[in-house]
């Protein structure tokens, strides 16, 4: 039965590796300037983790095959090198791997979080609430008017709580349910949570960031390919969580300008 275990385990290990080796399941196309660093890190880690996974599983299978149900009275043997060899192996191989991945991984993280958005980045505010995203563009004056939570009135389309009666700056703000952005231009997304925690996740953009009530968070990114992509909420936010989504529409600069003008006229 030990041999059977070895065969089953070997098959499981190989079957587990198959979809990865044949690229059956890979991350979707990357449309950001920083995504390549994340993808490279992921593929380096896959190589190292895959090696460790297959190595350990196949070794386990081999030893169980070789050393199970031996003849009665078979004398046990000990691995030459003993525990010291195992400890040294773990420190040298895994230690190096840990250091390498840890240090290399900083680069990808730093591209997203340790660089400031450029001066000319386009600022857009995103508000997440149960169970929809809304987006706000600053309008002709280039300024976002302050928010007044007590003035939120979804029935009348005042999703952000703008004081349209008294605040001149608020009147040119453009509020949309879709996030349209120009291609190849940096976006500085200001994140605001209306009620509970939510998250902004665009797989193709390699961006995921929580909205935290009470915290002014932001992310910045540049999309490099035009097209329509899904924005989904990844922080459990209540009964409609599964259905909380919006679209990211990456447009050419001309198309974006047209779109924004059109939206401004609809306000």
């Amino acid at each position: 039965m030990g041999k059977f275990f070895a065969v089953v385990l070997t098959l499981i290990a190989l079957a587990s590796a198959y979809p990865i080796v044949t690229h059956m399941y890979v991350q979707p196309v990357d449309i950001s300037t920083h995504g390549h660093a994340i993808d490279e890190q992921l593929s380096d880690t896959m190589a190292e983790a895959g090696f460790a996974f297959l190595g350990a599983q196949l070794l386990l299978a081999f030893f169980v095959w070789r050393f199970s149900n031996r003849k009665n009275g078979s004398k046990v043997k000990h691995l030459p090198g003993g525990a010291k060899l195992m400890v040294a192996t773990a420190f040298i191989f895994v230690g190096t791997e840990v250091l390498a991945l840890g240090v290399l991984g900083q680069k990808a993280w730093a591209e997203v979080y340790f660089t400031a958005p450029k001066q000319d980045a386009l600022q857009i505010q995103s508000q997440a609430g149960q169970f929809a995203f809304y987006f706000r563009y600053p309008g002709a004056d280039g300024k976002f008017a302050p928010l007044h939570p007590d003035k939120i009135d979804e029935g009348n389309g005042n999703y952000f709580g703008l004081d349209l009666a008294n605040d001149v700056e608020a009147r040119d703000d453009i509020v949309t349910a879709e996030l349209a952005i120009p291609v190849n231009r940096e976006i500085h997304l200001l994140m605001h949570a209306k009620d509970v925690g939510h998250s902004f996740y665009v797989r193709e953009l390699r961006i995921q960031q929580d909205f935290v009530p009470g915290l002014d968070l932001s992310v910045h990114f540049t999309a490099t390919k035009t097209g329509k992509y899904e924005i989904v909420c990844t922080q459990l936010c209540g009964l409609g969580h599964y259905n909380m989504k919006a679209y990211l529409n990456v447009l050419s600069q001309d198309d974006f300008d047209k779109w924004l003008k059109e939206k401004a006229s609809e306000q």
Binding site: M1, G2, F5, V8, I12, S16, Y25, P28, L42, T45, A49, G50, A52, F53, A56, Q57, L60, F63, V64, F67, S68, N69, V76, K77, H78, G82, A83, M86, V87, T89, V94, G102, G105, K107, A108, W109, F114, G129, Q130, D150, E154, G161, K194, D195, V196, Y201, R203, Q208, D210, V212, P213, L215, E230, T234, L236, L239, H241, Y242, N243, K245
Partner: protein, 587 residues
């Protein structure tokens, strides 16, 4: 520190009457079985919930006959609503993490075998011990009460992130009394675990019999000892966190709720709190909790493997020091659950390094197991198969941790099925394999009867292949960007992934079904199993030196004296290839 302590006379009289013997018992063995029994009830409940979830994900509009009787609002006509899916998810996670993975390997087996393995007659504080179980039982009742109240169970997940969990009914169904019951239940559970942990520590330090130095304790005793130290610190943080959550919910405080929140068109009357504070407190408990679940399993599996390899490990000391290192590092890594939470991005890197570093002691443990298998005389039985299965799962779940420990990769994989696959394999399945291995190994001692080996092996094969079929594809789904905690997959990119979900659901039904073979075996063997001898596995530790099942005072009034390290296998002894710990034979 190495001096052994002569234990005092037995601290309580022999129990009399059914209630004192079987219900409000002071006997650590009965209490251990009570914990195990509670975990057994919880694990089948948790599994049934996961079946309902897997069913709903692939057949969202199909009726589940009879489910409307459990909740007419959650499943009108037997069809699960999105909010009820989240209730099932929350209760599944809570039952499994707290009432199964903490109860069975640590409180259950630990209670039964720790005192015996160190040669004690009972725990240091038997009354505290009884109380810790009954407190835990009350926590369980309070939690399942959420199923029958009109509000229904909470929908905020087992992590109960604030402010969703803190603001009350405005945020959705299950968030009024359902969520309050959850917080009360977990707070009570913490009290039970704190009492239990203190008891384990005091017992290990004070009640070791003559000759039982620290390094002569079996590895599983070490695992329970280290786990109790982790539990003492972890539950001591979760308890006040739950109390603060309750205050926010019931007394109008704002520990976790900031100002200006508009929920269900109502401006909330709170100000000044921080949702991230809850996350920090919760994960400060939550990550060590992973090791509370897995370290006892590491101990049990080492114990079972050594016995069945008929040789000692390359080094038991190295495993013990590695478990200590994991326990120590577990306090510095909680932030890896929060890389994209909005906390300071520099701290993400600081949390990433110790997380990656944990791989080193975990690898050492795995290599010691593998290296020890070399040259073994491996006996294959249900207990050793589950132990070998554990090693395989520990590796599989461990390597996926490598991805998630890196903040940059976590940007992409966070909150996807990759995470679900990772923690189910390393914390769920691996720990359950440890529990099952321990069950097949110790059942003869606990009941005086042998379990049926053929059924045990059948149970293993279906479970082993089945769990891989369920949880390995989770990783592929995660890599394709499949988001977790969705009651139905409405995203455009999901359509091509649905066949994988169907495959997983079918695998879950089959694997879950196989657990009834185990349940049958457990009940059948308890009454009809072959009579178990004192030492059916030719093992060396103290539990095998006393009758099966042990008398109420374990050693019949004698105090065993220890002469050897716990694992004298592969040596010539008068009984065969082993020498028992309490045998005065020279080795």
């Amino acid at each position: 520190m190495e001096e052994a302590v002569v234990q005092p006379a037995h601290v309580h009289a022999p129990p009399e009457g059914f209630i004192r013997k079987h219900i409000f018992s002071l006997d650590h063995k009965v209490i251990g079985k009570q914990y195990y029994g509670l975990a057994l009830v919880a694990v089948f409940m948790g599994m049934a919930l996961s079946w309902l979830m897997r069913f709903h994900l692939v057949w969202p509009t199909t009726k589940v006959p009879g489910l409307d009787l459990l909740s007419s609002t959650g499943a009108p006509g037997g069809v699960i609503t999105p909010e009820y899916y989240l209730s099932l998810l929350t209760m599944h996670g809570t039952l499994m993490v707290f009432f199964v993975l903490t109860n069975a390997p640590f409180a259950g087996f630990g209670n039964y075998f720790l005192p015996i393995q160190i040669g004690a007659e009972d725990m240091a504080f038997p009354r505290f011990n009884m109380m810790s179980f009954w407190v835990t039982f009350v926590a369980f009742l309070v939690l399942v009460l959420a199923f029958v109240i009109p509000d229904g169970p909470p929908i905020s997940g087992w992590t109960a992130y604030a402010p969703l969990s803190a603001v009350g009914k405005d945020a959705g169904p299950g968030l009024a009394w359902g969520q309050s019951l959850w917080a009360i239940s977990i707070a009570i559970f913490c009290v039970g675990q704190l009492l239990g942990s203190l008891n384990f520590i005091a017992t290990t330090l004070d009640l070791r019999t003559k000759g039982m130095t620290f390094m002569r304790m079996p590895i599983c005793t070490w695992a329970w000892f280290i786990t109790s130290a982790i539990g003492l610190l972890a539950f001591a943080v979760l308890l006040p966190a739950c109390l603060l959550l309750l205050l926010d919910r019931m007394a109008g405080t704002s520990f976790f709720i900031p100002s200006g929140l508009v929920i269900s068109d109502r401006l909330q009357n709170h100000a000044g709190g921080s949702p991230l504070l809850w996350q920090h407190l919760f994960w400060f408990f939550g990550h060590p909790e992973v090791y509370i679940a897995i370290l006892p399993a590491v101990g049990i599996v080492s114990h079972v493997l050594i016995t069945n390899m008929r040789k000692p490990l390359l080094s038991a000391k190295v495993i013990i020091y590695s478990m200590m290192s994991i326990g120590f590092l577990s306090w510095m890594v909680w932030g890896h659950h929060m890389f994209v939470s909005g906390m300071n991005p520099t701290s993400s890197l600081l949390f990433s390094f110790p997380t990656l570093t944990i791989t080193i002691p975990a690898t050492i443990i795995t290599l010691i197991w593998l290296g020890s298998l070399y040259g073994a005389n491996l006996q294959i039985n249900a207990a050793s198969l589950f132990a070998l299965g554990f090693v395989s799962m520990f590796v599989s779940g461990g390597v996926s941790g490598f991805f998630l420990a890196q903040p940059s990769i976590d940007i992409y994989l966070h909150a996807t099925y990759f995470v679900v696959g990772h923690f189910h394999m390393v914390m769920g399945v691996a720990a359950i394999f440890g529990i099952l291995s321990g069950t097949y190994f110790w059942f003869p001692k606990m009941s005086g009867r042998m379990m049926n080996e053929s059924l045990g092996k059948l149970h293993f094969w279906i479970t082993f292949v089945g769990t891989y079929c369920i949880f390995m594809p989770f990783h592929y789904l995660g890599m394709a960007g499949n988001v977790r905690r969705y009651s139905s997959f409405v995203n455009d990119f999901m359509a091509p992934l649905m066949p994988v979900h169907k495959f997983i659901s079918i695998a879950a039904f089959v694997t879950g079904g196989a657990q009834f073979i185990f349940l049958f075996n457990l009940i059948y063997s308890r009454f009809r199993g072959k009579q178990a001898p004192e030492n059916p596995w030719n093992a060396t530790s103290l539990e095998w030196s006393i009758p099966s099942p042990p008398p109420w005072d374990n050693f019949g009034g004698k105090h065993p004296v220890i002469y050897h390290d716990p694992y004298q296998y592969g040596v010539k002894g008068s009984k065969g290839d082993f020498v028992m710990q309490d045998s005065p034979e020279q080795v």
